[in-house]
């Protein structure tokens, strides 16, 4: 009987954790919105919407914050243009257009920049294609430049509606802030999409089921971008403390071990009477010491394939536009050996560096190959599409957290 009760409570707990996790970005978005930071709120709602397009709260949040976020980036673009930083101006205008595609001022401004600095617009497009524009931009905008961001007290903020069934309201924000990680500039969430933008490439977004490595927006103390950000422990209950105006740090969701930041000397502080217990370091996930010893495994995919790919490539035996073997990332490469029509299957080989780590026959669409890269980071290669006529296979590579 006791065992049965314990199981029931465990199930309730798991459900609560899952629900809280799903709404983490929306919760963060609401916090930023309440703090008068619509551009940061927008980014969090964007992540939530990408993870779950049916999330009504994300959609409502995007609708609410889009005009203010677009205005914020337009001002940033104007300021960058005044300072002659055309690369930043192009990126900011592109961001405005992503938020408000009908912003004619930004359309005209981008065309002007295109005339004089076509390479900068191309670079901005490359960032936009790889969907890391937001992170790059937020990292590029200097902290002092943000100081003149609209003061929340100056502009009346619309009330943020609370969902009655919002479980995360009672719980602390779901996204951990991890104080001991550096807040370096946002890195590539995804590299550029494949050469041919159609096909499953637009699955980029892009966008979908499981979240791609996205920047997590964190409000922090007066730490410039690229330095360590000491984070106070978030209170478990009650409204979030209002951060200092204009101090934002964008950090990509940590996926690989990062170098510790160069420590800055801190002024000596008086020792507290009682030394607080040190927080336990998070246990790192176990990884094989030798990535070459890892044997890839294959499983059949279920349901919709994920969309948070680092890269999507096409390999083909007969289509001259695509190579037979192609590098993915982290030393991983994939080669098509053969395809069959009935049933639709592909024979593929996976390489790590020069070494073939797997040869698998009869992989069907949506099959998932679990592999590790040269840094022993776990990845999944997913067979997205098989076209037997010219023996072309489209695969996506995603990181497994």
């Amino acid at each position: 009987m006791i065992d049965l009760c314990a199981r029931g409570w465990s199930a309730v707990l798991v459900c609560a954790i899952l629900l809280t996790g799903c709404n983490g970005d929306v919760t963060l978005g609401r916090q930023h919105e309440q703090n008068g930071e619509p551009h940061l709120a927008y980014e969090n709602y964007l992540i939530a919407g990408e993870e779950n397009p049916d999330e009504g709260a994300a959609e409502a949040g995007l609708r609410r914050t889009a005009p203010a976020a677009a205005e914020y980036w337009r001002k940033r673009a104007d300021k960058a243009a005044e300072q002659g930083d055309w690369a930043l101006a192009a990126k900011c205008h592109l961001k405005v257009l992503q938020i408000a595609p009908d912003a004619t001022d930004s359309i005209k401004a981008l065309r002007r920049i295109q005339l004089e600095h076509p390479e900068l617009v191309q670079q901005a497009h490359a960032s936009a294609d790889s969907e890391r524009l937001s992170g790059e931009l937020l990292a590029m905008v200097e902290p002092e430049a943000l100081d003149d961001a609209p003061d929340p007290s100056d502009t009346p903020q619309p009330p943020v509606p609370d969902e009655p069934d919002e479980p995360s309201k009672a719980v602390q924000p779901a996204k951990p802030t991890e104080p001991d990680k550096p807040a370096g500039p946002a890195k590539a969430g995804k590299p550029s999409p494949p050469a041919v933008p159609q096909g499953p490439a637009p699955v980029t977004r892009p966008k979908g089921a499981a979240a791609p490595p996205q920047p997590v927006l964190v409000t922090a103390g007066a730490a410039p971008t690229g330095t360590a950000v000491p984070q106070p422990a978030a209170p478990a209950t009650g409204p979030p403390a209002k951060p200092a105006k204009g101090k934002h740090v964008v950090r990509p969701r940590p996926t690989t071990p990062q170098k510790p930041p160069t420590a800055k000397p801190k002024p000596p502080r008086p020792a507290p009477a009682v030394t607080p217990p040190k927080p336990k370091p998070k246990p790192k996930p176990a990884r094989p010491a030798n990535p070459y010893a890892f044997k890839p495994t294959v499983r059949a995919g279920t349901g919709k394939p994920p969309t948070d790919f680092i890269t999507i490539v096409r390999v083909s035996r007969d289509d001259d536009r695509y190579p037979k073997k192609r590098d993915l990332a982290g030393g991983l490469s994939i080669k098509v050996k053969d395809t069959d029509d009935d049933p639709l299957e592909a024979d593929m080989e996976v390489y790590l560096g020069r070494r073939r780590t797997m040869r698998n026959k009869k992989l069907r669409e949506n099959a998932v190959i679990s592999v590790v890269d040269e840094s022993a980071v776990a990845h999944e290669i997913i067979i997205l599409d098989i076209y037997d006529n010219d023996e072309t296979v489209t695969v996506g590579l995603r990181r497994v957290d």
Partner: protein, 236 residues
């Protein structure tokens, strides 16, 4: 018979998508009227499957649509003609374009959640498009994921995975395919009512903010990324 004019084709078994599209185009500043071209059977939603499977070049409404476009063009040699279609309606648009006379062109084509096969060769249709040919793509389109391509073609619906480029590429074909511009779903579009779903691509806000600006400007929108870049299109 005046231009500019947009002609809208609904999806299979669907009769009310023209409302939001018309509203979106009007509020976005599109200056012309929006006509609804009725092509579905009389069974309504019940006949959706037969509409879907019959939406190919043999559909009796395809020559009618082609004739309508030719007449419009004859009366307005320089007026803007825009074709907008949803789901299986896009299949009729592509087939009608393929039937047009040699020099007859429309200005823009917008395929919303197209259920045309991704393997359909668009070269002949693109010959009759003066400026750009937009096609939305969404991996979240559950309806296209469960249905096959319209008209009984093989492959997968282009609204789910995008159009495939033909294997053999001539210089002319590349030039034509440079007009094809995929519009993949982005989470930003949630703010405009398109959640990646099949029918929500006709949301009035999405049409106003995303589609209409592209029809009012001869130059491509800065966010447009053609299927073949200019460099690829001119490279042998």
């Amino acid at each position: 018979m005046t231009c500019p004019r947009a002609i809208y084709l609904d999806g299979a078994g669907w009769y009310s998508g023209d409302g939001p599209v018309r509203t979106g185009l009007r509020t976005g500043g599109y200056p012309g009227p929006v006509d609804r071209f009725h092509w579905q059977g009389l069974l309504g939603p019940v006949g959706a499957l037969s509409d879907h499977m019959g939406a190919n070049g043999n559909h009796p409404k395809v020559p009618q649509l082609a004739r309508r476009i030719e007449q419009l063009r004859q009366v307005n040699p320089n007026g803007q003609i825009v074709l907008v279609g949803l789901s299986a309606g896009t299949s009729l648009i592509v087939c009608a374009l393929e039937r047009l006379g040699e020099d007859v062109e429309v200005d823009y084509v917008v395929l919303l959640s197209p259920s045309v096969s991704d393997r359909h060769d668009l070269t002949d249709a693109l010959r009759h498009v003066r400026h750009r040919f937009y096609a939305t793509i969404s991996p979240h389109d559950g309806m296209l994921a469960s249905a096959g391509p319209a008209g009984g073609e093989s492959g997968r619906p282009a609204g789910l995975v995008g159009f495939r480029l033909p294997r053999k590429m001539t210089r002319e074909r590349k030039k034509l395919l440079a007009k094809l511009i995929p519009l993949p779903w982005r989470p930003e579009y949630l703010a405009y009512g398109w959640d990646g779903g099949h029918v929500s691509a006709t949301s009035a806000d999405f049409i106003r903010a995303v589609i209409t600006p592209r029809l009012l400007d001869d130059l491509p929108h800065p966010l447009d990324r053609p299927a073949l870049t200019e460099k690829e299109a001119t490279h042998d």
